[in-house]
């Protein structure tokens, strides 16, 4: 029943889960909290990478789709104590629905028009929360109770660690499902549409439907990430889902590597750790406040620029190239061939 691809992906996910659980048990509560953030962003960026990297549709509005998931979660949990899995699935469904509606419109748009439309989503959607503040809590937003760790883990078990475990599990399940989807005929049609729409249509692919499917899958991921984000931060407020978040998600997949799931993982690590590392510089370094206050943003921008210059294909692309380069060198040495290796095409294909 298990195809070789699925069993390979499942095996990798189980090994990763065990390793991450072990890691999570060895680190402090705040590191667990950070680990959970990485896992949550992996879900969102993996979905976005499928849409933008694999299917070629640029979305500057994924932060808004995360907001749909987060607000669904907050509203579901207001006055009710629903099981986590149900909340996650309902939030995912809510964001998928919004994604489907928007995806139909998006499938008719190309390039800058698509970027503009998705940007409008990012700007407009969070404003609904302020407009209807009696439902969505306005600028202060809605609070979300943290997921309670099961009692068999002991009373001293940090809630942050439990949150990390949940986020890691959900992220790995998402990655396995997306990994399989990309290897399937659906995944191939995503790429075919990205590479040449006319050719894809001639090959019998329904271009518009493929684009809508990609948008829905990607929105589902954003909704799931948004739901976990609400649990993680304990608060759903419009300021948390501004245009900046959407742009951060895009920059994460560009830094990590467009079109691959591992690129989404690298990008999420950068997205979480760089601001984490730079915050607090204002008070710890003795800089003039006008410099120190803006230093974290400056460093974040500098990391983006340097990453683009050094590894234009993202961290994932850079690593693949290094690996292929090493292979080519090694093969060259074995055959005593002192060939020049081309950086842009190290495998010599």
């Amino acid at each position: 029943m298990l195809t070789p691809t699925l069993s390979r992906h499942l095996g990798l996910a189980v090994v990763a889960f065990i390793l991450l659980l072990l890691l999570s048990s060895q680190i402090g509560a705040y590191d667990d909290y950070t680990l959970a953030a990485v896992a949550i962003f992996v879900i969102a960026t993996a979905g976005l990478n499928l849409l933008t990297g694999v299917n070629g549709q640029l979305s500057l509005g994924h932060g808004a789709l995360m907001a749909v998931g987060a607000y669904s979660t907050s509203l579901l949990l207001r006055g009710h104590d629903l099981p986590l899995i149900l909340v996650l699935l309902l939030s995912l469904a809510g964001a998928s629905l919004v994604g489907a509606v928007f995806g139909v419109a998006a499938a008719r748009l190309r390039g800058p028009y698509l970027a503009g439309a998705t940007l409008a989503l990012a700007v407009g959607l969070p404003q609904i929360a302020t407009r209807y503040s009696h439902v969505f809590g306005g600028e202060e937003g809605l609070t979300v109770p943290p997921p309670a760790a099961p009692s068999w883990l002991g009373a001293d078990f940090p809630p942050e660690r439990w949150m990390a475990w949940i986020a890691i599990a959900v992220a790995l399940v998402t990655l396995v499902l997306l990994g399989n989807l990309l290897q399937s005929s659906v995944g191939r049609s995503f790429k075919a549409v990205r590479d040449h729409e006319a050719a894809a249509a001639l090959a019998g692919i329904n271009v518009a439907r493929t684009q809508v499917v990609a948008f829905v899958v990607s929105s589902a991921c954003a909704g799931l990430a948004g739901s976990l984000f609400a649990y993680w931060s304990g608060l759903t407020a419009p300021a948390g889902f501004g245009v900046a978040l959407s742009l951060q998600l895009i920059s994460a997949i560009v830094i990590g590597g467009l079109g691959s799931l591992s690129g989404a993982v690298w990008g999420s690590i950068v997205l979480v750790f760089v601001p984490n590392f730079t915050s607090g510089m204002a008070s710890s370094l003795n800089l003039p406040s006008s410099v120190g206050n803006n230093l974290p943003l400056l460093i974040y921008g500098a990391v983006l620029v340097v990453a683009m210059l050094v590894v234009p294909y993202g961290i994932d692309g850079g690593l693949r190239r290094l690996l292929a380069l090493a292979r080519a060198r090694w093969a060259g040495a074995a055959t005593n061939h002192k060939g020049v290796v081309d950086w842009d095409d190290p495998a010599g294909s």
Binding site: E139, T143, E160, A237, G240
Partner: protein, 433 residues
Amino acid sequence: MNIQINHMTSAMSRIAIGCALALLAACGESGGTTNTASAPGITTSEIKIGSTQPLTGPAAPGYSEIAPAANAYFQYVNAHGGIFGRKITYEYLDDGYNPTTTSSVTRKLVLQDKVFAVFNALGTPTHLAVVDYLNSEKVPDLFVASGCNCWNDPSTHPYTFGWQPDYTIEGKILGQYIQQNLAGKKVGYFYQNDEFGLDGVKGLDQQISSVASRQNYVPTNTNVAPQIAALQASGAQVVVSFSIPAFTALALLTAAKLHYNPVWVVSNVGSDVPTLTGLLTKFSSGAAGGQLLTGMVTDAYLPLVTDASNPWITLFKKIHDQYIQSLPWDGNVLYGMGAAYAFVQAIKAAGRNPTRAGIVHTLETTKLTGGPGLAPYGYGSNNHLGYLGVQVATIGADGNATTVGPVYTSSDSGSINQYSGTPATPPSNGIPS
């Protein structure tokens, strides 16, 4: 017999000595003469506290000076022997006035940096995001930099204390001023659409019976032209503004553009003259400036920054000049130092080896007096309010504020009373004893 008595006395004296030793040991734990690591964030040589501040983002103009100013006062205290020999380390992190960021950086302070207390964390919407978390972790949440009356809730948030007068009290006293001095004029409101603005409006409404127009803004949308035009259309001759400095400036500039000249009554947090002058000049690219502030009505609960004869101003100005010369000398700096002074008072009162529960107990049972404030503190076991009142002030053509009338105190629902206490003077070394 005699021998027996001797035996008894020696036994008794042994018990007595034992008791005395036990007492001394007990003293060593809570008072005593040696420093112990009595709580998270407290070592034998350091007191580590943290804060979340808008160092960037819409609330940064003006407010970003508060934490460096508090830190300057702590450095001054550290340079003069510290608190029972301990140095204060103040770690303030940027949250960009974004509640979601506040939530994550507060966890960094508590879980990773392991601060003893969160001090003077700034903002109503931002701090509301973490007040439950801090209380569930039993982290003292002292002197929140916001006048929301939501901090005064000892039964649900026993670890949280406000500091500045709450916005409802401020609204009531400003409303009373309008009733008495601007009677017969049409009044309009302009306020931030969250607990900050709504609390202020709650106070105003207790004094002002008819309101021509109520307009609000959200800090993420900088276009306030529709609101100001609506106020103008309503014929409001007095506009009361519960706004952060950037939005006070935007409102004043928009009104000037529309040739609309009401009397502006701006609550304390949005009325600092140097901050507003800078913002007005910047937003209008130099076309306007401080002249728009002439005649503005506001209120104060600390001495006026321009009052060079006030000993508190002399003290804080001296510390400003020594440690943070690059920042302007303005109301934000004064605010940061005033709050820092209150923290030093509280931590000293909590004894040589304070605990988290201990400082809460101290604030509830020991009246903090002798600080720079114009009105008394409200702290008690059923009350976590800071300053209980304000004094109204007007801004002259030279940009200097002048106080008008007496200091009034009040509570959220009680009457407004005149306060007649005499202002305290600072200790000679500038550090609370």
